[in-house]
Amino acid sequence: MEQKELRAWEALCIQEEPPACRAGCPLNVDARSFAAAMAKGEWSSARAILEKSMPIGGIVARICEAPCEQYCIRKDLGGAIALSALERVCVVNAPSRRKVFRLPPRPKRVVALGGGLSSLTVAFDLAKKGYPVTVYFGGERPGGSLNYFPEETLPQAVVKDELNHLEKLSVAFKPIENFTPDCIASADSIYVGQDDILPETLTVPIQHPDSATFALAEPGWFTGGMHGKEHRYRFITNISEGRQAAISIDRYLQQASLTSGRAALRNGKAKLYTRTDHIAAVPRKKPAAPAGYTLEEAIEEAARCINCQCLECVNHCKYLENFGAFPRVYARQIYNNSAIVKGTHMANTLINSCSLCRQCEELCPNDFSMADLCLEARQTMVREQRMPSSAHWFALEEMHSARTEGSLVRHAPGAETSDTLFYPGCQLGGIRPQQTLRLYERLLELQPLTGIWLDCCGAPAHWAGRKEAFTEIVQQVEKVWQEMGSPRVVTACSTCLKMFRDHLPAVPVESVWRVLAEQAAVDGDPLHVMAISDPCTARDDGDTRAAVRTLLKGLGRVDAPLPMSGKLTECCGFGGLMDCANPAQARQVAEARVAQTDAEIITYCAMCRDQLARTGKPVSHILDLLFSDLAHPAEEKPQSISARRIHRRRLKSALLNRYPAEQQEEKAAWEDVELIIPETVAMMMEERRILEDDIRKVLHKGANGGQHFVHDQSGLAIASAVLGAVTFWVEYTVEKDQYRLERCWSHRMVMRREKA
């Protein structure tokens, strides 16, 4: 990933953008965090949050007119959060813990004419940066209008406190009468704060400043504090002008551009998206006493803050939630991951755990696609040869097996051509072989020239980021299709359908559910409520989703829609090879999915059925309803990885039996090894991805003069074999001609006896 691409990804995710309140605060106060601290009664940290952005916080927090409130997202849900009143109660109750902190002194001198709010802001901001500032105040004391507030609004002691703080920051206060033309000569920059009473000789010649930088025509001169009683937000606006002028003065004194790279005020324009349709209106808390909130009232009011966030995608995706942040951060982590030359690639698991289901794209206001981000990252890892070889190993082995020993393509028995090829998909064949055969029968009834095509569409290679391997598969698939006379393809797998549509646009392909729906019975009496779980690969396939609903209606089923279904549907935990790279997370995803309903779940993807059924919830496949004599119980456990392999071979041989002229493929010798597999070992095999086939191969080798180990007392034996990239081990006992399995394990490290 190039830095430019990272920036583009980052720009799409607006979760880090300030919420409306902050965007509406001219001082950029983090009102969301402030409200959160207040709601917890953490007064001191709430005050610290205010003072992080406010100059002379004790004063500003008491008098700010809170323009932010007009933008608050709570506005129409009971009224804006009373930030103004909350800020007051905060500073009244929590003394400032602010330290006198000043950068090393700088030689350039600043003079502020006028001692009003805007000048005090200039003095505060620039003094902290190390500039010596002299404030020439009008009237008897510095502060201008601050001296005329009622005591209960702004106690004079508070003003005094803040002025003391400024003096500690090396701000000097002098009466305006002391100001002479010499003072101008010795200053490097001058600010004219119009929010104080100044002699006309000083104010009359002042022109209107630049509206963004507050610079006057004369270099080094700036002005602000231009608003009086007529302005609804005059105090905060004058303060804001002081702050903007201070930014300009600092840039001017450093001989930097006044404008380049300068963040403009947002004036309430927030990019952060916050969904509110699930938020109930709660009326604004009214203080019982005119003086303002009590602490208890303040907590209650602050707790109304929505804590505006986007997190639309994260709130619905276990994967995004599990990694503890949100896509903008993930994009950065993935970028950093690809930049590492030496050291640990921390984001490998992040990249490989996404199901590529694309729900995030649907939910995100900016269509951020975690799927594209992760898929590209996987492709890069494969290209740069740093994809962990174990990450997708099992799925790729499965694919290989389905494409070799499990694959078959034939015209219908006795036919020379095919009008249609039925492509059940490797998972349906592995999980529901009997139903697959019946479904083929049904299609033959509808169209006698329907051939059969057992294969894997290559989705695992695509998901694993193996671009080259996938392209090769796609080409092979296309070639087979052409050799069969380029017929229509009908598939029972949403993933195969999507793969064909996305990568082989020349192939006319259709979902078997649509073909069947055309023949569907008139609606049966609604008997039974079920929740349809759409596979994630059917997200963009409204026609197939509708066909399934038609079929189910015909079977007397009523859909109790899952909250996340149709276009918003989510993955079962298998997609994108999540189950391979992060099995624990795949379990969580399935649990979260089934928790969305109390109704019995029905799906039309064999893999979804098994993944969801792993949770123990009853889950049916639509074929269980269509062919009730071949129905599997909804409570049935998922098929084991070994069974899927064996089923595929059997399905193929059952089909081949229909072509008497053809020779069946010969069984391998190891297939006859007889196993006794206790339940605990079966579970171990499933979890460790060890197939019966693997074990038979290991034992077959051991039994035929191969080397093995025998325990001297227990009689247990251990055999091993290297099969591809993995070494498999089996511990067993022999009972007559059968092997009783005790344990099995595997590793990828290669062992070599050291040469002496």
Binding site: M346, N348, S390, Q707, H708, Q713, W745, E754
Partner: protein
Amino acid sequence: MNLSFLPADMNWTCQPCGEKLQPGMVELEYMGNVFRVELPVCPKCSAVLISEDLAVGRMLEVEQLLEDK
């Protein structure tokens, strides 16, 4: 790295060699990294026994570490 992974129970005999396994130095290799470790070995045919504990424990850990390097 010089580590010993001898199981508590060394009472294994290699078949068909008929030799009792003995501690021996073995090289384990993964992704170009080589480790010398001590494991039960058949003195005659050099067959090595990798226990379940080792395979699903330290070995797996190291494999994963190296894959993320």
